[in-house]
C-alpha cells in the first residue's frame, strides 16, 4: 500500500494567515471569536469569528468573489511551501465548501448569470485558471464533514494511482444567509461557544480557509502520514445527530483498525465539538464506545468558531501541528464536564510525545467522518 503524507498546509483565519501564525496564536490562547455588531448580517449583536470588513483576504473584486479570494490566498501560500508545480499532470485540486458564493444571492437580482456565478463549478474554473492547474478541480459539498471527506477523497485518489499530489482547499464565509439559518434553528450560542461544557448553549460561527497538500512523496522527516479514514450516515434524522453515536463510533473503530492500530495507540482525539447540546452528547457516546473515553480530546471551535466547509481542514492542520510539536491544545470555552457528555476533555496544555491522532466530524444530513493521522 502506498504511503501518503501531508507535505504542506496553510490556514487563513481572522487570527493568522499561515499555519505557523495560527498555531502560535492558539498556544497563546487567542481566540478569533468576538462580539460582532454588523447589522448587514444580523439586527442583533452576535458572537462569531469573522475577518475585519476591510481584510484583503476576502475582498471581492471584479474577477473573484470573497469565497474565491479566501481560497486563492490559502492555496497560494500552501503551494509556495510545498515547492510543487501547480500545473503538473499528476496533481489535482479538491475544493470543499458548504455554501461557497451564497452571499451573492443577497446582493444581486435573481437572473441566470447570477446562478452561474454562484455555482461552485464557476469558482473551480476560475481557480484552475488562476493557478494554471492541469485538471478541472473536484468539488465536495457535504455539510460539515466536507473538509475531512475531501482529505479522504484525496487519499483515495493517490492510493489508487490516479494522482501523485492532491491539493485540498476549503473555505466558507459567514453571510446573512448562513447566520440567519442557524439563528432560526436557535443553534447560535449567546456567548462564545463552550464545547463539551455542562452549560454549553450552541455554536459560534466562524469564517476561514485552509489547504493541505497530500503527496505520495515525503518532503520532510516530520511530515505526518494519513493512515485511514471512513464516512458513515446515521440514517436517523436530517438535522439532529444519532441518538446512540453508533455510526460515528463505527467509523472511528474502522479508521483505527484499517491503520493497523488499537485504541491504546491513540494519543489525541480532535473532535467536532460544535457545542450544541446534542452534537457533543452524541460525540461523547461515540468516542467512549470506540474505547477512547480516557484519551485527551479537544474541540477547536472555541478558537475558530464553526468554519463549516473549512472546519475539517483547519482542525486537521492544527492537530497535525500538535503531533509534530507534542502539544495538545486545551478546549477553549470548556470549564465544567457534563455527565451526559463525559470525556477526557483536554482543559490544559498537555506536552508529551504524540504519535496518533483521530479527527472526527459530523454534519446535517446525518453524515460522519473520521480520519487517523500518524507521526512516523
Amino acid at each position: 500500500m502506498s504511503e501518503i503524507y501531508i507535505v504542506a498546509d496553510n490556514i487563513v483565519s481572522p487570527i493568522g494567515v499561515t499555519t505557523g501564525e495560527n498555531f502560535s496564536q492558539l498556544t497563546h490562547q487567542v481566540s478569533a471569536i468576538k462580539l460582532q455588531n454588523n447589522t448587514t448580517l444580523s439586527p442583533e449583536s452576535f458572537y462569531a469569528a469573522l475577518f475585519n470588513s476591510d481584510s484583503p483576504y476576502r475582498k471581492e473584486d471584479e474577477t473573484y468573489t470573497a469565497f474565491e479570494q479566501l481560497l486563492i490566498a490559502s492555496i497560494s501560500e500552501a503551494l509556495q511551501n510545498s515547492g510543487l508545480p501547480a500545473g503538473d499532470k499528476r496533481t489535482i485540486l479538491i475544493i470543499s465548501s458548504t455554501k461557497g458564493n451564497i452571499n451573492l444571492l443577497e446582493n444581486h437580482s435573481l437572473h441566470k448569470p447570477t446562478h452561474e456565478r454562484i455555482a461552485l463549478p464557476t469558482s473551480a474554473k476560475l481557480i484552475k485558471q488562476h493557478f494554471g492547474l492541469y485538471h478541472q478541480p473536484l468539488i465536495i459539498s457535504n455539510a460539515c464533514i466536507s473538509g475531512l471527506l475531501a482529505i479522504l477523497t484525496a487519499k483515495r485518489l493517490i492510493a489508487s494511482g490516479q494522482y501523485d499530489h492532491v491539493l485540498v482547499a476549503g473555505a466558507d464565509i459567514i453571510s446573512k444567509f448562513v447566520l440567519s439559518g442557524f439563528q432560526s434553528f436557535q443553534a447560535i450560542s449567546p456567548e462564545p461557544c463552550k464545547p463539551f461544557d455542562k452549560e454549553r448553549q450552541g455554536i459560534t460561527l466562524g469564517e476561514g480557509a485552509a489547504t493541505v497538500i497530500l503527496s505520495r512523496e515525503r518532503k520532510n522527516t516530520d511530515n505526518i502520514k494519513i493512515m485511514a479514514g471512513a464516512v458513515s450516515n446515521d440514517a436517523n434524522h436530517i438535522s439532529a445527530p444519532s441518538r446512540t453515536g453508533n455510526e460515528l463510533a463505527y467509523i472511528i473503530k474502522k479508521a483505527i483498525k484499517d491503520s493497523g492500530l488499537t485504541a491504546n495507540d491513540i494519543n489525541l482525539v480532535s473532535a467536532h465539538g460544535t457545542a450544541t447540546l446534542y452534537n457533543d452528547e452524541m460525540e461523547a457516546k461515540a468516542i467512549n464506545e470506540a474505547g477512547l473515553g480516557s484519551v485527551p480530546t479537544n474541540s477547536l471551535k472555541g478558537y475558530y468558531g464553526h468554519t463549516l466547509g473549512a472546519a475539517g481542514l483547519i482542525e486537521t492542520i492544527i492537530s497535525v501541528r500538535s503531533l509534530q510539536e507534542g502539544i495538545i491544545l486545551p478546549t477553549k470555552g470548556f470549564e465544567k464536564s457534563d455527565p451526559s457528555a463525559q470525556l477526557t476533555v483536554a482543559d490544559n496544555f498537555i506536552r508529551e510525545p504524540l504519535q496518533n491522532c483521530i479527527k472526527t466530524a459530523s454534519g446535517f444530513g446525518g453524515c460522519n467522518a473520521a480520519m487517523l493521522f500518524s507521526k512516523q
Partner: protein, 211 residues
C-alpha cells in the same frame, strides 16, 4: 464476492418521464415539476408522509431512488454499513437556497433552511433505506461518468461498500434531471457492466432516442 461491479438497475426522471432500466414506465405531460413529482408519488402509491416535507431536490432524488430500488433491491442481502450513496449535481441546493432567502424577509424558516445543503437528499434516502455506509456529494458542471465510475468502483472493489446508489440529481427552478444507478458486485438478468460508457448511454438516453 469477486464479481466486477455491475449496474443492476437504473432509474431516471426527466422531461416528465420516468424510466427504469431504460424503459419508459410513466409519463405525465405538461406538468410543473412539483405537480409531476406528486403525480409520480401518487401513481406508485408510495406511502411515506415525509415526502411532503422534503424540498424539490430531495423529492426528486427520493422518488428516483424509490423507483430504482423497487423490485430490484434485496435490502436483506447487505448490512446497513455496506450500503452507501455517491451523488452529484451542478447547482447544489440553489433552488431551495433562493426559497430560504425569501423567507428571511419575514421570519427565517428553519424547516426550509435545513434543505439548503445538497446532501440532505442523501440523508433522506439513507433514512428511508437504512443506508449507513459511505456517502458523498460532489458538485460538477455536468455529469462526470468517468469520475463516478472510478470513485464508486474503488469503494466496491476495496469492500468499503457492497452496494451503492450513485448518479446525478439536479433541480433549479423548472429544470430538473435525475439519473440514479444501483451498483452491486453481482450479475443479475439485465445487469450491465458498471462502466462510464454504460452510464452515459443511460444518462443521455432521451436525446439518443429522439435521434
Amino acid at each position: 464476492m469477486n464479481t466486477a461491479p455491475h449496474i443492476t438497475a437504473s432509474c431516471s426522471i426527466s422531461e416528465n418521464t420516468v424510466r427504469k432500466n431504460g424503459q419508459v414506465l410513466y409519463s405525465l405531460a405538461g406538468k410543473e415539476p412539483m405537480d409531476l413529482f406528486v403525480g409520480i408519488y401518487q401513481h406508485y402509491a408510495l406511502e411515506y408522509p415525509r415526502f411532503y416535507k422534503m424540498d424539490s431536490l430531495a423529492k426528486l432524488g427520493w422518488l428516483t431512488s424509490e423507483i430504482l430500488l423497487k423490485e430490484s433491491f434485496d435490502a436483506n442481502a447487505y448490512e446497513p454499513e455496506q450500503t452507501g450513496l455517491i451523488l452529484c449535481n451542478a447547482n447544489a441546493s440553489l433552488d431551495t437556497d433562493i426559497k430560504y432567502l425569501a423567507t428571511t424577509n419575514e421570519i427565517a424558516s428553519p424547516s426550509v433552511f435545513v434543505y439548503t445543503l445538497p446532501n440532505i437528499m442523501t440523508g433522506e434516502i439513507s433514512i428511508r433505506n437504512r443506508f449507513k455506509g459511505e456517502n458523498a456529494f460532489f458538485i460538477s458542471e455536468s455529469f462526470d461518468a468517468a469520475f463516478l465510475q472510478q470513485y464508486v468502483s474503488g469503494l466496491l472493489n476495496q469492500d468499503i461498500l457492497q452496494a451503492c446508489i450513485c448518479g446525478w440529481v439536479e433541480l433549479l427552478d423548472k429544470e430538473y434531471k435525475a439519473v440514479l444507478f444501483l451498483v452491486e458486485k453481482k450479475e443479475t438478468p439485465g445487469a450491465v457492466l458498471f462502466s462510464a460508457e454504460n452510464m452515459n448511454e443511460l444518462f443521455y438516453q432521451k436525446e439518443a432516442s429522439n435521434g
